[in-house]
């Protein structure tokens, strides 16, 4: 049985993300590597960063990031290096350039629009005159009277 477990463990992909042997000795560099890997997508996974992913490709990318940092690249240079090879798709936070500006601007613009419409509505409401209370139909008035009578 034990041998079977061992064989199965060899077949199965590694269970978890950053392995102890990947960690750099310099804690400062390692911290930077972690920050960078949280922003890079594991290309074969579903919406996971390479920092979280178990896939072997993610491991390769993690090692690559660390390699670049050890050579002396800055964070931006490292990210640029990887984007050049794997494309924009690898970035979990899309760059605010070109058509992606729409994505970034969508929220603030919508907020302005909604706030503007809300304000116009509120101004209309506050300057309107109170409508008559004849919102009830005759049937409802009768029903209301019934309820009030039965309660008293």
């Amino acid at each position: 049985m034990k041998r079977l477990v061992f064989i199965l463990m060899l077949i199965a992909s590694p269970l978890w993300a950053v392995e102890p042997d990947e960690i750099l000795d310099d804690p400062e560099l390692e911290a930077r590597a972690r920050v960078i890997s949280k922003g890079l997508r594991c290309l074969v996974c579903q919406n996971e960063s390479i920092d979280e992913s178990h896939a072997s490709l993610a491991r390769d990318l993690r090692l690559l990031v660390r390699e670049r940092l050890v050579v002396g690249d800055s964070n931006d240079q490292t990210v640029e290096f990887i984007v050049e090879r794997y494309g924009e798709y690898v970035l979990l936070q899309p760059r605010a350039s070109g058509s992606t500006l729409v994505l970034w601007a969508a929220g603030p613009l919508m907020l302005l629009l909604a706030a503007g419409m809300g304000f116009i509505y509120l101004r209309g409401r506050s300057s309107a005159t109170e409508g008559s209370d004849a919102a009830l139909t005759d049937v409802e008035k009768t029903r209301l009277r019934e309820i009030l009578d039965s309660n008293s």
């Binding site: 199965l8 102890p20 042997d21 919406n47 924009e88 979990l92 070109g98 409401r125 506050s126």
Partner: protein, 655 residues
């Protein structure tokens, strides 16, 4: 035989739903009472037939009937019974059957408990609900039949995805579906009101409990899912901004907006047109969620791998219902004029602000979720939109929401003075600032999000309590009056506090977590922060359908043993898939989360330790929100309004 009966019941239910759609609608249009009366028995019959079909499928799973394709693909004879049962909805076909079961359940509830609705409105509501049923019955029968038989049954099944073999599966999807589908009821009310051409305070009162119930279920469902991911996925994340999570989060945001705006409809006869639009959109988003999960268009951990035919079918359903309702809305919206008059500063305007913030934040999530598709289709750019984007674009809305919430909740209706509302909150504000300042001073060089979260939590919770106290007036017997306050007031306090507490948990886990990754040698203790970890040994274990490696770890602090932890890693034999079972030492201040990795060639085992402060408050907060919703649902005036019928869930949401 039972399988065939189940299939037959499903087909019958389809036809009953068709009858339920057309006959009452025509009846309501022409004013024929007898035709309108068809709706009620039809809704009951539809529910019972669907329940029978669902029961038949569940039976096939329980008895491991491998002549059913679905059972072969998702079950195994050695699988524990709980997962055989929950495996019924752990797959595409079965979960669609659960979905339509809940659609028919809500329809039947409206039929049974809605006897105080005007007959024509009730007929129309049930007719719209029936139409939703028709669409989904057709979807199941024509594209995803769960009752497909195999000519040559295999000897055993292929087992359920191991990640799903967890008690989480038993509860997370049913609650989520109750939430998603609960919004179909609000949608039906909205469309019925548009057909009726009449939206008034009474309508607001009928619609609120359904929205509130749906929101409570969504809250519980999302919280369960997040907790499940937290302990199952093996690295202690609680929210991933995954497309499918977003799909459940968007209806949650909109339904929260909806029951707040329905208050304005009911109490002030305003915001009617907006509320109808929200009701349509909320269900629209829950359909979009279904589309995202089933079409396989957006990749996600949740996606049931799928063929495009189903995606197109759901897109058609989505287009028909949301599109149809919006066209109807465009024709009828102008007839709904607002009646209430109120100042720029008032409870009404505060609720409007709540709606703007919730709806726009929902919009941000929507744009972020769909952007990869848009970018690829129109700009030929293949890109990802992940957690960093959402954290940055979404969080500000929640910060502003938390900041204005206590003030808005204190404002009186019609015309308010901002000074008067702020005055009783002044100490709470100062105290919250002081606590946050203290926290900020204690942490060194970390993000400012932590103290901000602490500030908001303290501010919202204290604000909610002050708001509740302010309703007890002055003088003697304030405690007695506090106890006699309407449950809706208590619900509001609890739900708002819950939001604050969830914010506290999120701030804690995102800003103060730390972790340790290393090769641990057996018998050699090491420190992680204030804790000491000692790996005592590693052993093998054979489960019913998996093999496990279990580590025995002692967690201690300052020489005192806190707990014995047993993290596992498993291999599921049939599915050939490894999973991690983290060991977590829970308490209210922090979680210590330990995961065991591989044995190293040079000896020792890889061990990961995370310390995650305040994590459990995330789910405690969600629970409080749901509890607050339940308090509001059971408010006395709505039980009174519902007549003698106690079970009729008419209520006031947290306002």
């Amino acid at each position: 035989m039972i399988t065939e009966l189940g299939h037959f019941a499903l087909i019958l239910a389809f036809f009953v739903a068709i009858v339920q759609t057309f006959v009452p609608l025509v009846g309501a249009q022409k004013g024929w009472r007898s035709w309108m009366a068809v709706a009620e028995p039809a809704a009951s019959a539809q529910f019972m037939l669907t329940a029978f079909a669902f029961g038949a499928l569940m039976w096939a799973f329980i008895s491991s009937d491998f002549s059913l394709l679905l059972v072969v693909q998702n079950s195994h004879s050695a699988k524990p019974m709980l997962y055989k049962i929950s495996g019924t909805w752990g797959n595409h076909e079965g979960s669609m059957l659960l979905w339509v079961l809940i659609v028919s359940l809500f329809g039947a509830m409206a039929a049974w408990f809605g006897t105080n609705l005007p007959p024509s409105l009730r007929a129309r509501v049930l007719s719209v609900q029936g139409a939703i049923g028709v669409a989904f019955f057709a979807f199941i029968l024509f594209t995803s039949n769960p009752f497909t038989r195999l000519a040559v049954p295999p000897f055993d099944g292929q087992d359920l995805n191991p990640l799903l073999q967890d008690p989480g599966l038993a509860f997370h999807p049913p609650f989520l579906y109750l939430g998603y589908v609960g919004l179909s009821m609000t949608f039906s009310f909205a469309v019925a009101a548009l057909l009726e051409g009449r939206v008034d305070a009474a309508w607001g009162r009928w619609v609120r409990p359904w929205t509130l119930a749906a929101w409570i279920f969504l809250t519980i469902g999302i919280a369960l899912g997040s907790w499940w991911a937290y302990y199952e996925l093996g690295w202690g994340g609680f929210w991933f901004w995954d497309p499918v999570e977003n799909a459940s989060f968007m209806p949650w945001l909109l339904s929260a907006a909806l029951f707040h705006s329905a208050i304005v409809v009911e109490k002030r006869d305003s915001l009617k047109s907006w509320t109808i639009l929200l009701a349509i959109l909320a269900f629209g988003f829950s359909l979009i969620g279904t589309f995202i999960v089933r079409s396989g268009l957006l990749t996600s951990v949740h996606a049931f791998a799928n063929d495009p035919e189903r995606g197109v079918f759901i897109l058609m359903i989505l287009g028909f219902f949301t599109g149809g309702a919006l066209i109807l809305y465009a024709f009828r919206a102008t007839t709904m004029e607002a009646k209430g008059v109120f100042g720029l500063v008032s409870r009404e305007s505060a609720l409007l602000t709540n709606n703007i913030l919730l709806a726009v934040s929902c919009f941000v999530v929507f744009v972020g979720t769909m952007w990869p598709l848009v970018a690829e289709m129109f700009f030929d750019r293949k890109l990802s939109v992940g957690p960093p984007f959402f954290n940055m674009a979404f969080t500000p809305f929640m910060l502003v929401l938390g900041l204005v919430l206590p003030v808005g909740a204190m404002l009186p209706w019609k015309r308010a003075q901002i000074k008067k509302a702020i005055y009783p909150l002044r100490y709470a504000f100062v105290l919250a600032l002081a606590i946050a300042g203290l926290v900020w001073a204690m942490q060194t060089g970390r993000s400012v999000l932590g103290p901000m979260g602490v500030f908001l939590a303290a501010w919202i919770v204290m604000g909610a309590v002050i708001d509740l106290m302010s309703r007890t007036g002055r003088g003697k017997d304030r405690f007695g009056r506090l106890m006699r306050l309407p449950r809706a007031d208590w619900g509001k306090m609890l739900a708002h506090s819950g939001l604050g507490i969830t914010m506290l948990g999120v701030a804690g886990i995102t800003s103060w977590s730390y972790e340790d990754i290393r090769v641990a040698q057996i018998g050699q203790p090491y420190d992680v922060g204030a804790y000491t970890i000692l790996l005592n040994g590693v052993s093998d274990f054979e489960g019913p359908n998996y093999l496990a490696t279990i580590a025995d770890i002692t967690l201690s602090q300052g020489g005192q043993i806190l707990s014995q932890m047993k993290p596992e890693k498993r291999i599921y034999l049939v599915a050939q898939m490894p999973t991690t079972e983290a060991a977590i030492d829970y308490n209210l201040a922090r979680d210590v989360y330990v995961v065991i990795g591989d044995e190293q060639d040079a000896g020792g085992w890889a061990v990961r330790t995370y310390v995650k402060p305040l994590t459990n408050w995330i789910w405690i907060g969600c629970f409080l929100m749901a509890l607050g919703g339940c308090f509001s649902l059971s408010d006395r005036r709505f039980r009174v309004a519902a007549g003698a019928r106690k079970s009729n869930a008419q209520a006031v949401p947290a306002e």
